[in-house]
């Protein structure tokens, strides 16, 4: 396969995987599982190939892939620049790991209809990768809907109360998507094109720069995306939807969906609209950053109040969305770098934590804080992975969480936005409290009323199965590796991803 085709293989591999699973996956669950893993592995290797290609020619501009050989703006194109090459790699990598991880959990949680579950799994990944790769603003909508539909089904697989939570998500998600679609409609009326790059080129015309309808389009698209990414105060649907669902789904959806929405926001701000438009014409920076600060504080406080491990993590996601939105709106290079870097690092951290919690739940059958009791003895490897994820969330060097905080804080300080800085520090401290509370519960086996000193030596080590441990270990290792390679990632990729006019 020639090198240029990698761009489309990234998306086609999971798509074809989904079709094949739905055709032959019913034969045996192993077939479904292996097909999924194989498809995602192909996709992931293609993202790696594209990433290295993009990195090699970062200064020359993005890679273009014309679908059907039609020149844009008449046809649809994929545009792979350093920004989305990174996000693609993260999405494909995390979903591959979750796919490997899912072997036992899916078997337990959806034993019947397993191949349908995997079909939707693959479709969700295809949708997310497609969203990230596309250079066409309407195509993005279509792919968003694929991802959304697949995620509805996956989230509903939690049964019971999950259905109501999913229903809320459907309503919110549809409002978000429709706002986006309406915004695209306004943009199309005013520009006559659907290609992002061309739209951006038109956007410098003074007639459009101060047009009321373009402004409304921007607002609609932003609000739509904020609903999709659960940005405060539009976050109400997320904790329920992500908590009630099955382990596998939350492992897949939690790290990826919000991050991809954040990516889309950044893409729209600087790839459809222009830097001066997003920052100066709208003049929203301060307000949005304040909102982001509130999101961080609200998410952190919400997390503190939870006794359900997964729900606690979902509130952390709400806070993390605040990090990224705030970073993107700070209006300086450091903040945006932090936001982009945080997409990657938060994807990894969230995946790591959700998988670790999933493994603990898998073994203990509990999801409350008490599930952690004595976990350092019972499941030492899982516990160690959880610690890595937790430390990254707190922002301890050299995990990647530290470096995103570094850039976000630099951005906040450079912009003089001290509210955001304080919110970031506050959430770091809250995360420290949250995670060390958990570490503590896991570390002290002796507080059980019945168990006495000395008895803790008898605890049987009962680790999660290998198919869960390996992906978790890789994720935890990636947290450290990405942290240590920050310099390369920033100077080799993110620097080129920043819009002209913002330079580190």
């Amino acid at each position: 396969m020639s090198l240029e085709q990698h761009a489309i293989i990234i998306i086609l591999a999971p798509l074809l995987g989904a079709l094949v699973i739905s055709l032959i996956g019913g034969l045996h669950r192993r077939v479904a599982y292996l097909t999924l893993v194989a498809a995602l592995a192909v996709s992931f290797s293609s993202t790696i190939a594209t990433l290295s290609q993009v990195a090699a020619r970062a200064a020359e501009g993005p890679l273009h892939y014309f679908l059907g050989d039609w020149q844009p703006p008449y046809g649809i194109e994929l545009v792979i620049d350093p920004l989305n090459a990174l996000v693609l790699t993260m999405v494909a990598g995390v979903s591959l790991l979750v796919a490997i991880y899912s072997k036992e959990t899916v078997r337990r949680e959806s034993p019947d209809r397993l191949h349908h579950y995997y079909t939707l799994f693959a479709l969700l990944v295809a949708g997310l990768l497609g969203i990230t790769a596309t250079g066409d603003i309407f195509n993005l909508y279509v792919l968003t809907e694929i991802a959304a539909l697949a995620s509805y089904a996956l989230l509903a697989s939690g049964r019971g109360f999950a259905y109501y939570a999913t229903f809320k998500y459907i309503i919110m998600g549809t409002i978000g998507a429709c706002f986006y679609l309406l915004g695209v409609g306004y943009l199309y009326i005013k520009t006559g094109t659907l290609n992002m790059a061309e739209m951006q080129a038109f956007m410098t015309r003074p007639a459009l720069l101060h047009s009321e309808s373009i402004r409304v389009a921007f607002i609609l698209i932003m609000v739509g995306l904020w609903i999709k990414m659960a940005f405060f105060p539009l976050h109400g649907w997320l904790p329920n939807a992500y908590t009630r669902t099955s382990t596998t789904t939350s492992c897949l959806v939690a790290p990826l969906m919000t991050k991809v929405s954040v990516y889309v926001m950044i893409r729209v701000m600087f790839g459809v609209f222009t830097l001066p438009y997003a920052y100066h014409v709208m003049g929203w920076n301060t307000a949005v950053v304040w909102l982001a600060s509130l999101a961080i504080v609200a998410g952190s406080i919400g997390a503190l109040a939870q006794t359900n491990l997964k729900r606690m993590l979902t509130y952390i996601i709400v806070a993390e969305v605040g990090y990224m939105v705030g970073g993107a709106w700070l209006g300086n290079a450091a903040g945006l770098t932090g936001a982009i870097y945080h997409i990657i690092s938060d994807g990894l951290m969230t995946a790591c934590l959700f998988m670790a919690v999933g493994a603990i739940t898998f073994k203990t059958g509990e999801i409350n804080l008490e599930a952690m009791r004595g976990v350092f003895r019972r499941m030492p490897v899982t516990a160690a992975i959880f610690v890595v994820g937790g430390l990254a969330m707190i922002g301890i060097p050299p995990t990647c969480g530290f470096f995103s905080k570094w850039y976000l804080l630099s951005g906040g300080l450079a912009a003089g936005h001290y509210g955001f800085v304080v919110a970031l520090l506050f959430s770091s401290l809250v995360n420290a409290v949250l995670f060390f509370r958990l570490f503590e519960i896991g570390y002290y086996p002796l507080f059980d009323a019945q168990s006495e000193a000395g008895q803790h030596d008898k605890v049987v080590v009962a680790e999660a199965p290998l198919s869960m441990l390996v992906p978790m270990l890789i994720t935890a290792a990636m947290i450290l590796v990405v942290g240590l390679y920050t310099s390369r990632i920033v100077s080799g990729l993110i620097e080129y991803a920043l819009p002209a006019g913002l330079k580190l």
Binding site: L19, L67, G75, D112, H116, L123, Y186, I189, E212
Partner: protein, 249 residues
């Protein structure tokens, strides 16, 4: 909740009304939307694809990638509903009986449906096959095909319809339709062109590139029609019976 909703729609309404001032008036031939891409498609598409129905040309060729995923959306919805509603194995065995005289069975209705279904299906095939020359296409044809089956299920019952078109095949064909679409694109990839560049079929079929575009579109539309047919039917039987696939409504 009601107050919040009113505030939200008031704010949104004001925003949208203000924005409308700025938009071109209805039917304005000079609005940007109607001159840039639109004119290109109107003027060039016949030259480039040899398909007179420009909507089809844009749908199935210029924006074929979109349409592929549109089909995937349908497919995805079908699987989603299946995953949510269907329960296997059934909790209790169904007593299978022909039940010709079940309450509500209407001889007039059933006879009319029997007569109508083949006509509908024939027309649907025409809509699919003639979609690039006249209004129509895969989605439209597929929906009519699906409707014919739904009519069968409505006038008789779901079991009868399923007897004619087994659920196993429903699933098989729904994936098969998307696969057909993707395969047409993949062959182009295999032949060294970009994904969905139908021109690549020219050598394979021994026809001109223009004709290849037209044929490619036809193939794609057939794939779409198959998927839409299956999923429409599947959505109906699942929703109407709550996933039990018994008599339904």
């Amino acid at each position: 909740m009601k107050k919040t909703a009113l505030i939200i729609i008031a704010v949104l309404g004001i925003l949208l009304l203000r924005a409308a001032e700025d938009l071109p008036s209805w039917g304005d031939p000079q609005s940007p939307a109607s001159v840039h891409l639109s004119n290109y498609y109107l003027e060039e598409s016949y030259e480039e694809t040899s398909v007179p129905n420009i909507v089809t040309a844009v749908l199935a060729d210029y924006r074929s990638y979109d349409t592929l995923f549109e089909t995937v959306v349908i497919f995805c919805a079908g699987i989603t509903v299946l995953l949510i509603l269907r329960r296997t194995p059934r909790r209790w065995p169904k007593v299978i009986s022909p039940r010709p005289n079940r309450p509500g069975a209407d001889i007039i209705l059933q006879t009319a449906a029997r007569l109508l279904v083949p006509m509908m299906q024939l027309f649907a095939l025409y809509v699919v096959a003639h979609g690039h020359h006249s209004p129509g296409g895969g989605f439209q044809g597929g929906v009519i095909l699906g409707a014919s089956l739904i009519l069968l299920a409505l006038s008789y019952d779901i079991e009868m319809a399923l007897h004619r078109f087994k659920e196993k095949f429903v699933l098989l064909f729904s994936a098969g339709g998307v696969l057909l679409y993707a395969a047409i694109g993949l062959v182009c990839l295999y032949l060294g062109r970009n994904f969905l560049a139908y021109g690549a079929w020219a050598d394979l079929l021994g026809i001109s590139e223009l004709a290849a575009h037209s044929h490619g579109m036809l193939g794609v539309e057939i794939g779409v029609a198959i998927t839409v047919l299956c999923i429409m039917f599947s959505l109906y039987i699942d929703l109407a019976s709550g996933g039990d696939l018994d008599e339904g409504l």
